[in-house]
Symmetry: C2
Subunit: 398 residues, 2 copies
């Protein structure tokens, strides 16, 4: 990838939580890199960093590409950084070869992608997509008002609505990213073509039993909320694996009351999170879970209630962009494989405005959101090369 990202701040082992000093330092650094590459970076009212390279046909909409540089606490240096620096690298490569595209090119470093600050993710691409209300600027997190946080990274909360872009504002949006799962590595495929970003349905399951003495209460008289929760956890896995496909489902959180070794649990609350490209499949899985929960409740003398906690629609990658990525890979002699993205990305916000596509490269052992996150440099470089070629492929299309 043009020799850059391997050095400098972005292999520094530093986590850049949105709005932290480290995040601001990283943003300053990437803007310096842009200026060194002859670009004029600008910050929109939401805090996103943009830079443009003119095209031969200025009236065509720009091809927009990039990623983010903020990270989760204890995160790695590849999630986001790779796509951001590779976008800049693509412009530098075009400069080096003197090549001019038909479409203007616009690169972006999205602010506040990770869901840690203010308990939300994709925060500033969401503003560009138009999902913003004035009240949002008054959210408080960690002692900080959201408007002030955006001001801190160079945005302007007073003009936040000016960050919105209309549908069709760009020819397409492209993002190179690490896979964060282990599918590509296991398959030995260097380039992943993202089919879309999965839909997510989240529920809280509330299991109500009756807390009682663990010594004096016979087995047949128990209303054990933990036992019901255990059966339900197994039922979630069964519902997910019953049909073929790449859907996933997770029980990641549980709270038990009173949670004492010598008391039969009277209450258990657990999270159920289901993900797949098809929202219909999520509904079918949940129907399966509900049916099984009725049996479990009857067998364990408990009640089980499901409270919807969140539902996110899927973002489908454009068929044209997927084909363009495959042609780009083929032109470089690189194998490609289609796969869904189980994680959320700014690309899903840009899918609201126009055609979107994402390029994945392998994550070693599928580890991400960890200091152990690693993508080999040759895989980073392959991804950057495919990004540039995809830009050129998309540039051919009107």
């Amino acid at each position: 990838m043009f020799g850059r990202p391997a050095g400098g701040t972005f292999a520094d082992g530093v986590s850049r939580v949105a709005y932290s000093d480290a995040d601001i330092e990283g943003r300053r650094y990437v803007m310096e890199l842009m200026k060194a590459g002859g670009l004029q970076p600008r910050i929109d009212p939401a805090g996103n960093i943009f830079a443009n390279r003119p095209g031969a046909e200025p009236r065509l909409p720009p091809i927009l590409f990039g990623s983010h540089i903020d990270s989760v606490p204890g995160g790695g240096n590849f999630d986001g950084d790779l796509g951001s620096l590779s976008a800049l690298g693509a412009l530098e490569a075009l400069d080096a070869t003197g090549m001019r595209t038909r479409h203007p090119l616009e690169i972006v470093v999205w602010a506040h992608e990770e869901g840690f600050a203010f308990g939300r993710g994709l925060a500033c691409s969401r503003i560009v997509a138009g999902e913003i209300t004035p009240a949002d600027m008054n959210e408080v997190w960690n002692g900080m008002r959201r408007g002030d946080a955006i001001r801190r990274i160079g945005g302007n909360p007073d003009r936040i609505f000016e960050a919105r872009r209309p549908k069709g504002a760009h020819h397409c949006y492209l993002e190179l990213h690490i896979e964060q799962g282990g599918t590509l590595e296991r398959a030995g495929v260097p380039i992943g073509v993202v089919e879309g970003i999965v839909a997510i349905d989240k529920y809280d399951a509330v299991v109500t039993g009756f807390a009682n003495h663990a010594g004096t209460t016979p087995i047949t008289e128990r209303h054990d909320a933990m036992l019901a929760a255990a059966h339900l956890t197994v039922a979630v896995r069964d519902a997910v694996t019953r049909a073929p496909g790449r859907q996933v489902g997770t029980v990641g959180h549980i709270e038990v009351t009173p949670n004492s070794p010598n008391v039969i649990p009277g209450l258990a609350r657990l999270s159920i999170e289901l993900r797949d490209l098809s929202p219909q499949k999520l509904v079918a899985m949940m129907d399966d879970i509900r049916a099984r929960a009725r049996e479990i409740a009857a067998n364990t003398q408990t009640t089980i209630e499901f409270i919807p906690a969140m539902s996110a629609a899927p973002a489908v990658a454009s068929a044209e962009v997927q084909s363009a990525i495959e042609r780009a890979g083929a032109s470089l002699g690189l194998g490609t494989s289609r796969l869904p993205s189980g994680a959320g990305h700014d690309a899903q916000m840009m899918a609201l405005l126009g055609p979107m596509g994402m390029i994945f490269v392998p994550s070693v052992a599928g580890v991400s959101h960890s200091p152990k996150e690693l993508t080999h440099w040759e895989d980073c470089a392959r991804g950057a090369d495919v990004l540039l070629r995809t830009v050129l492929e998309m540039d051919k299309l009107s």
Copy 2:
């Protein structure tokens, strides 16, 4: 039950946590009742309250009986109180009828029975049974040294070893107590004859998986510690119910790391508590659980380790005392039923020194350690009557 326990402090809805002001107030009240009954209560160095009534044959060892008056936080007014006040009531009934026993009679109100203060229960009967070291007096709980706590209730930690009693110090030990379970109520039997106090084996199960992204990690690549813990919780119930009998087993406590809805749990720690009169049965159940755990670990790509946390031997009630209780019940026209005690009682400490037996009366809906704890007054009175008759039955035996 001689009209007393229904009134006064002991139906006051006040929980008396050991060493609290309420506990001290309750102890003062019960000593006043003893004095009003012509007794001379005394406090041993461990803080236990004793009172004696002479027998016709002073060289015979005393028949010891009583219970405790301290309670768990948020506890009820029957657990312990019933047996303590019924012991006093028995002496008053003997006085009222002018009846003299062969054996001296000794009643006791044990201090600090419930396992809340200092994280231990049966604390002061344990001292009488000889299970005490000088270091124990230096334990600190809630800002209080244990020696100072004992001094607060009138004990003398400097002479703590003088509280010990030798084997054979009493003819037998008897205790009337509420069942705390629902077996007697369901069976419609007014008097339970306790076969013994169950053995308890406790383990911490540590399930180690690998925390990873709940969206990007395919099902087949997961090492889900929560899923393994769920299967293990079901396995505990299966191991307990596989064989006939009254054994119980509980998973009451779970801790999951990181316990976030969007992260596959990497670690789960859960408690396993098994109770039965037969320690061999506990070992067999645990062997069953271990065998199943090996399969679960293999199927879920996790490891499961069991750390022994506690093992308490059973205390078997004397056959002579059990028969005496049954004769006492029959003489009053009351049906009896043998059952184990799933909860711990001071009686198990006294079983170390001589023959022991316990009388249970029904708990409404099996609820205990709760403000809803209730035993109907007629059942309380039946229990008190059976206690007195059992004293007289045991008095006939040398």
